[in-house]
Symmetry: C2
Subunit: 355 residues, 2 copies
């Protein structure tokens, strides 16, 4: 028989000590305790201070943040709205952001849209109700009103990865144009000449737009110097395997003697392309080259290894949180754009001659 559990009875829940308890125990007023908590450095007799300190320790007191929030209007809470927690990019950012928030004494309230962007307003409303002091938004950004709501409540907002149409807010993101150039150039240098840019449906999502635009201009810029370089684009929809297969077959056909290469605009698409390659029985590298945005834990192990452009996800999250906290603390600069470079990780999928 296990040792008796001393807190067996759930009927007698442990009561948290309040500031009044501490005051009583230390023989001082609530105000004094509060001062000890908030303005320790100034105005305090060492004698009183230590009495308070002892009482706090004895009662294991910690202030009730809800009461604090109510009084001060500040909650030490940050709202994080994510289009889709399932997206590894979002998670990676989340992780970076969470770290910074915790260190700065903020807690994260999470609202996942489950890819239903119509709920963005709802999310922001729920979160403001809880007095979050600011928002990190990693959403599609199609509901302009939603994010504007946040700003209307006077809460600072940081946008991650996706801009909201004409919203004035800090923006933290991969340098999409640079990343695409980096990858496309690599493909070209590896000998691929007929390029296909595959993206999720663009749908006015800023990052997708930017990446596609960068691809197009890379092609037109490089066509002068690189004879035989051609490029086209394809939007791949979730269920539509046939469309993608057809696009890939088209790619090889157009390529003729030249080497065909795919640039996939994010990890979701990369996985779809990998699936298509499996269906078609083609090998990465030899049959079709590939470089994709987003480096994942599995990138090295698919086929000969998938060449990818790693986003500094952790850094993005940390910066987003950092920016936001600066704003919360009252920094009043015009909106900033922070663009971070991607890093190319060449692997077997962009090598045309199998080793």
């Amino acid at each position: 028989m296990p040792t008796k559990n001393p807190k067996q009875s759930p009927a007698v829940p442990f009561e948290r000590a309040t500031i009044a308890d501490v005051a009583r125990q230390a023989g001082v007023s609530k105000a004094t305790v509060s001062r000890f908590l908030n303005h320790r450095e100034t105005l305090l007799t060492t004698d009183i201070a230590s009495r308070v300190e002892v009482a706090i320790a004895a009662l294991a007191y910690s202030p009730n943040p809800m009461a604090r929030a109510l009084k001060r209007g500040r909650s030490r809470l940050i709202g994080l709205v994510v289009a889709d927690v399932t997206n590894p990019f979002s998670v990676a950012v989340l992780r970076g952001a969470e770290k910074v928030c915790q260190q700065a004494g903020y807690l994260l309230m999470l609202f996942n849209l489950g890819n239903d962007s119509s709920r963005e307003s709802e999310a922001i409303k729920a979160l403001t109700a809880y007095q979050v002091e600011g928002f990190i938004l990693n959403t599609l950004g199609r509901d302009a009103g939603a994010a504007a709501d946040a700003a209307r409540y006077g809460k600072p907002v940081v946008l991650v990865d996706r801009r909201h149409h004409d919203m004035q807010a800090d923006f933290v993101s991969l340098d999409n144009a640079g990343a695409v150039r980096l990858g496309a150039r690599h493909l070209v240098e590896a000998g691929y000449r007929e390029l296909l840019f595959v993206s999720e449906p663009i749908n006015d999502v800023s990052s997708r737009l930017e990446r596609e635009a960068a691809f197009r201009s890379f092609i037109s810029d490089s066509a002068v110097d690189v004879p035989g370089l051609r490029g086209s684009t394809f939007e791949s929809t979730a269920g539509d395997t046939e469309g993608l297969d057809k696009a890939l077959r088209g790619l090889r056909q157009r390529a003729g003697e030249r080497l065909p290469g795919v640039f996939s605009s994010n990890a979701v698409v990369t996985l779809r392309v990998a699936a298509a390659m499996a269906r078609l029985g083609w090998r990465f590298g030899a049959d079709v080259g590939l470089v994709g945005v987003d480096d994942t834990e599995w990138s090295p192990y698919i086929g000969p290894g998938l060449s990818s452009i790693a986003q500094p996800t952790d850094e993005l999250g940390r910066l987003a949180a950092g920016c936001l906290i600066e704003r919360i603390k009252g920094m009043d600069l015009p909106p900033r754009q922070i663009l971070l470079s991607g890093r190319l990780l060449p692997r077997g999928s962009s090598v045309s001659t199998p080793t």
Copy 2:
């Protein structure tokens, strides 16, 4: 030119209406408004009710949950503590849980341990401070005190995937024993005879323990009927590639004429095994069979496809949240254990003769 934005100046943040505003507007007392909000069905003249209703709408009033929490001691907040948000399993569960919570009108406060289980206490403390009404814990469970803290505060707790040593709480998890038997039997039926169970360092983590134990007993139970069946186990540590390589070489050596198969105890391990296979230049299926717990988006595309045992992650998350909410609402049954079955997804990695 876009229509003028009426709330351009951030210096004049929008003020939320309070219950007092509503009362004034409707010409009633705060108490009446509060009653309208909380006990709508009973005690209310239709006239007054409609006046309040109108005022609420006019002012776009919604109650301040912090104030509510302060008064009622209930916050409509649920604390989710996760060992590692990076773990896809955790994310999947998170997603399921979040859905249910939102539907029930709860918001999730997230605390990520970043695999530093010493911070579990800290997490629980921070979250209780915010008056969360209950906890979903997906942590290593080595810090028994931490979780007990939660219970001490009288908050219900649901454990996901990992039990906490002798904690009396609801527990939601994969049926580890069943899942391991399912996979191991599949390996045997596919002809593999020298089996290696690879796990993360067991370290007293309940799910790892259970899976390993199930593997061992599967082997001893089946050895009678399956001539030549042998099994061993290996704990793979994060950086230790050499150890794993050696273990795999050992496996093939021991196998001799028989077919060697790996059972990997979760997705993290599966990835390590995939890395090792790449280093060794071996092919899944033909050289070494593999079945692993956790089906991921990339499982089908590594090598010939990785056979795996899918956990009902979403369902786990939903159940966890559901259980918790029942408890919060006052349900007072003895602790429940909910075990869900895994589903085998056979792929190429458990086929010894390449097609």
